[in-house]
């Protein structure tokens, strides 16, 4: 039963078979194509699931039913929506900067896709376990702001421009808090590699082992990434009542769909990183030396743990959306610069003291 869920064996099997059957160059090419197709599949699948989940969760929060007509319990709803988007005309309005206007969705997609590389989806199942994984994630995720500014500026629409400017200020501000809270885990682990960080949590997740400072860091991280992905209550960039659609007002059809998809993938990725750093990634719930308990927990496959934690965090972000009213832009920037950033800086010093004194478990 257990080996069925062992993705490392599966990948090794495919790898071995390819290199036995084909010459090395061809095998490598096939491997790349398989990875590419798998990632595209994951991308599309996640997009469909997350949109449906968003709608179902909002319905649940508002005591509605949500989509329930297309397919069993409305499960096919997002597929139908995709088909609808496909037949919509993707217009390019007059007077836009055509090159940048068409390039922006591609940049958003590439940035979202590149972030898939260091994420450990299951035990030993990772596209590229690079030794600066966490730094890579922070670096690539800030590429997103370029796509947003590009889209807003090139649209030749005042609302788009304002939305993009707001979004830029917001994303760069909250990146600092997210970075500082990520650093707390790096201080405790002493490594930037995702697999090292996960292995370090084999006797308990950091959120339990690191006392209150890591808990604070986790809370700050969740607030910061909610702002970074432009989600309510921080959705200043596309505040519908103020700026119609924000930076993607002028986009329609498939280009709009690409932005939409990239946004949801970003939500998934920041939650996956949060789950990896604070909640142990694919590591099952282990408590210190309780071998019997740990053994039972090991029976649940690692991919189930990873996706369970990630989707729990995504649910948390959707919960935020229906709990807090939207902030004003000055409140938003005040929250970051007056509260979160100083708290984050003091917090990282506290974590350093804990790490040096070895107070963590």
């Amino acid at each position: 039963m257990q080996h069925m869920w062992n993705f490392a064996q599966l990948t090794d099997l495919i790898h071995g078979w390819l290199y036995e059957t084909f010459p090395p160059a061809w095998a490598l090419a096939f491997e790349m194509i398989i990875v590419g197709i798998a990632v595209i599949g994951l991308f599309a699948g996640l997009g469909l699931v997350l949109v449906l989940m968003e709608r179902k969760v909002s319905a649940f929060m508002q005591i509605r039913l949500g989509p329930n007509r297309v397919g069993p319990k409305g499960l096919m709803q997002s597929l139908a929506d995709t088909l609808k988007l496909l037949v919509k005309e993707g217009m390019t309005p007059d007077g836009v900067d055509r090159f940048l206007f068409n390039l922006a969705p591609f940049i958003a997609m590439i940035a979202a896709m590149l972030l898939m590389a260091p994420i450990a989806f299951a035990k030993d199942f990772q596209i590229w376990d690079l030794n600066i994984g966490v730094l890579y994630v922070t670096a690539i995720s800030s590429l997103n702001v370029i796509a947003i500014l590009m889209a807003g500026w090139s649209s030749n629409n005042k609302y788009s421009l304002l939305g993009a400017m707001r979004s830029g200020a917001q994303i760069v501000s909250y990146e600092l808090s997210a970075g500082l809270s990520i650093l707390t885990v790096v201080v405790l682990t002493g490594s930037l590699q995702i697999s090292d960080i996960v292995t370090a949590q084999s006797n308990g997740w950091w959120i339990f082992k690191g006392h209150i400072p890591v808990l604070i860091a986790f809370v700050i991280y969740m607030i910061a990434v909610t702002a970074e992905t432009n989600r309510a209550p921080f959705d200043m960039a596309e505040a519908e009542s103020e700026l119609t659609g924000g930076f993607h007002t002028e986009y329609s059809g498939m280009k709009f769909a690409l932005f939409f998809l990239a946004e949801y993938i970003n939500v998934f990725i920041v939650c996956a990183i949060g789950a990896t750093l604070f909640l142990g990634g694919w590591m099952p719930l282990h408590i210190g030396e309780w071998t019997a308990f740990n053994g039972i927990m090991d029976w649940i496959p690692s991919s189930v743990w990873f996706f369970g934690k990630t989707f729990f965090l995504i649910f948390l972000m959707m919960w935020f959306r229906w709990t807090f009213p939207r902030l004003r832009i000055d409140q938003l920037l005040n929250l970051e610069w007056r509260y979160l950033l100083p708290i984050g800086m003091v917090n990282i010093l506290l974590v350093t003291v804990i790490a040096i004194l070895k107070w963590h478990f």
């Binding site: 990632v39 993707g90 920037l333 610069w337 800086m345």
Partner: protein
Amino acid sequence: MGPASLIVLTLAAVTFSVIAILLSRIVLKASWNPQKGQAYECGIPTTGQTWIQFNVGYYLFALIFLIFDVELIFLYPWAVVVRQVGWPALVEILIFFFILFIGFLYAHKKGALKWS
């Protein structure tokens, strides 16, 4: 996979987007009328240019962000070795934070972080 995965992922993203856009090009029925290309703003014809200079109001945040982002980059190598180095690392980072904090206080006092 090694660094090659970056190329694979970029190509995957581009392929996905191109296929999606091309597919919709094939399927859709395009129409045209003179009002369709106008900017989606208020319903009435837009006045003035979009690409003008206006007071962004965010540029001070951008400047301060730059300082703190560089600080963050300096913190990464420090965070990796802090457990081996021990107390000296903490003292050094305290000095570093202190200098930054003075700058932060100055910006705060000048009202750079105040929305007006």
